[in-house]
Subunit: 377 residues, 2 copies
């Protein structure tokens, strides 16, 4: 029976300092950079069993186990643990909070040593490649040179792709779940409205809201509610809520169950996420475009030794299968070892967080080197 | 060659008074109710050539011709005029601004005679049936008892459906374009976020913003931008804007062309629309559900003499063809004369506003009683 990794303690490490700063792709420097991370399982003596988890837009380092309350497990607890696809009986799993985040890793809410105040919008812009640079420094800190696997959903998958491109022999197995190599105009449009909602909030204060006692609660909750609609399928909203009503008479408050659900999504997000991090990380996604120069990308991919698994979900309309197909097409053109599969799941983009059997089988098989068995099923 | 109806003057009429108020479906009363409307073409001596245009969520009475600047024609000028599908050489076309609107018809921005101040959220809630009640009073005022046709897109089509249901022998031809008999949970979810954005705006003031010199500009523009994404297809955004950029360096302002376009949509909307009207009319759509009791609806439709044309567009993801199919299914079960067609068009929901040849052919043929010729093409 699959189990839990149990109680885990988050860890923190300063990976870059003011004297040895992170040099970003833009040329800007940033230091110190502290990273919060968690690990599950034990690193083998030869450090050959490490799997790196890259989280998505609003994730954090707490991917599995619990911090004291077993009823509140990490966000990927379905995937990580003894007997689970990322089997901690044999694998050593690492998950850090992203650069620019707000859950223990340096981001716009961190104190800028040059001013003694939170960075706010003075935090430098960064890229997916910069996220990978920080990930690699964490690996070095842990004494790991090569990964048995790297896995991520959505923005997480983008990091895996960038990592393989930039460091062609560091990842044995790269698993991209409902990822994209290039946001569409519609994807960017949704991000743009979310950002406009945050920056237009009366309490945004140009990003310097940390000391005011207020924050852009309305703007951030609207951003989250709208994004959430894109994370779930039309079908799942219909099944869960349909047109079920709460009251009889029309109001401009909460009349339908689906409104109550969405409002809850917006409100709970406020407790755990920083609006400026939302701005930075959505921009990172907008700009990600590693295949913009396809010929150059194919040339670089020719060196890549990673075996790729590219999974999408049939009801995902945030990053529909066409995004995964485009990734797999370019990888295959470059001669990479790539398996692509569209998995049936009613839950839309959020499926990557859920226990979808075939998806979990594929991930387990990829890490065990036995995907062909799953594909033949 | 199709032409323009040329210069038109909007008209206004008080259809209900305080002494003879509009009795709403809820039982509440409202008076006075003034309606702004326009007409195009000439009413035949026997009043047999009238076609009623029902506008959508953010439409107005100015459907065709111009008010002085021929470069700024009405919103359905492609459809209405000499030689056009609603041919004003032979038809008399009427288009009023909806009850609850903000373009000359009584709505939440109108003065409540009992207080001398704008209604704001004290305006009563109303339904699609109430919109039809006002439409019918306008017809009576114009001396018209029966319509050759009634046509509308989106919320406009809902009015046509309700009208035919409630008054089974008043409409000869009912034309529903990208309409719905029932918003989905996802549709309601988008509306809910739009409303939350408006009511959460610092300047909303519980709906009483008219006297403050401010209005919920941020909230209303966010609502419009988000809605606009749902009005256009993913494909059309990709073709128009793709990932084209404005600047080189990331900012939290306008970096991509699609962001500039969306911001323009949001800003121009502020000049012409009232936030409270947006709240009321979206709620009207949320609650519309004439087939909730399908057996009862079918029984009532058994009396309906209207010939229906139900058109959808293949790239419309706001009200996909499934919504039209559901309408046509129930109409057909009830034995109504109904033709349904999905028209190929790259422009999504907004296609109903655009010159899509087959759609225009179908509308013209329906009003001429010759749809079978078009269907056989």
């Amino acid at each position: 029976m699959p189990g839990s990794v149990g109680h885990v303690e988050p860890q923190r490490v300063v990976l870059f300092t003011e004297d040895d700063p992170l040099v970003l792709e833009s040329g800007a420097t940033l230091g110190p950079v502290e990273v919060q991370y968690e690990t599950y399982g034990r690193l083998a003596a030869d450090a050959s069993n490490a799997v790196f988890v890259c989280h998505a837009l609003t994730g954090d380092a707490h991917a599995a186990g619990h911090h004291g309350d077993a009823k509140r497990p990490g966000w990927w607890d379905t995937l990580i643990g003894p007997g689970k696809p990322l089997d901690t009986d044999s694998l050593f799993v690492i998950c850090p909070n992203l650069l620019g985040g707000c859950q223990g890793t340096t981001g716009p809410s961190s104190v800028d040593p040059s001013t003694g105040k939170p960075y706010g919008l003075r935090f430098p812009h960064f890229t997916v490649a910069d996220l990978v640079t920080v990930h690699r420094r964490l690996l070095a800190h842990l004494g790991i040179e090569k990964l048995h696997g790297a896995i991520g959903g959505s923005l997480g998958g983008m990091q895996v792709l960038q990592w393989a491109l930039d460091h062609p022999s560091e990842i044995e197995n790269g698993i991209l779940v409902c990822a994209s190599a290039r946001l569409s105009a519609q994807n960017i449009a949704f991000s743009a409205v979310a950002r406009a909602s945050i920056t237009g909030d009366e309490h945004f204060a140009g990003g310097d809201y940390y000391a005011t006692g207020e924050k852009p609660r309305v703007g951030l909750s609207i951003a989250r509610m709208m994004a959430h609609i894109t994370y779930v399928s039309e079908e799942s909203l219909r099944h869960k809520f349909g047109r079920d009503r709460i009251g009889e008479q029309p109001t401009f408050d909460i009349d339908f169950q689906v409104e109550s659900y969405l409002e809850h999504q917006g409100q709970t997000f406020l407790d755990r996420f920083d609006a400026n991090s939302y701005l930075y990380l959505t921009r990172v996604m907008d700009y990600f475009d590693p295949f913009a120069d396809e010929a150059a990308a194919i040339a670089r991919l020719g060196e890549v030794r990673t075996r790729f698994l590219v999974v999408s979900f049939d009801t995902d309309w945030r990053f529909p299968t066409a995004h995964s197909t485009e990734i797999a097409r370019v990888l295959a053109l470059a001669g990479c070892d790539v398996l692509q599969d569209e998995v049936a799941s009613p839950w839309g983009h959020d499926s990557f967080l859920l226990e979808v059997p075939r998806y979990h089988e594929l991930v387990a098989a990829q890490l065990a080197g036995s995907t062909s068995l799953v594909f033949l099923k």
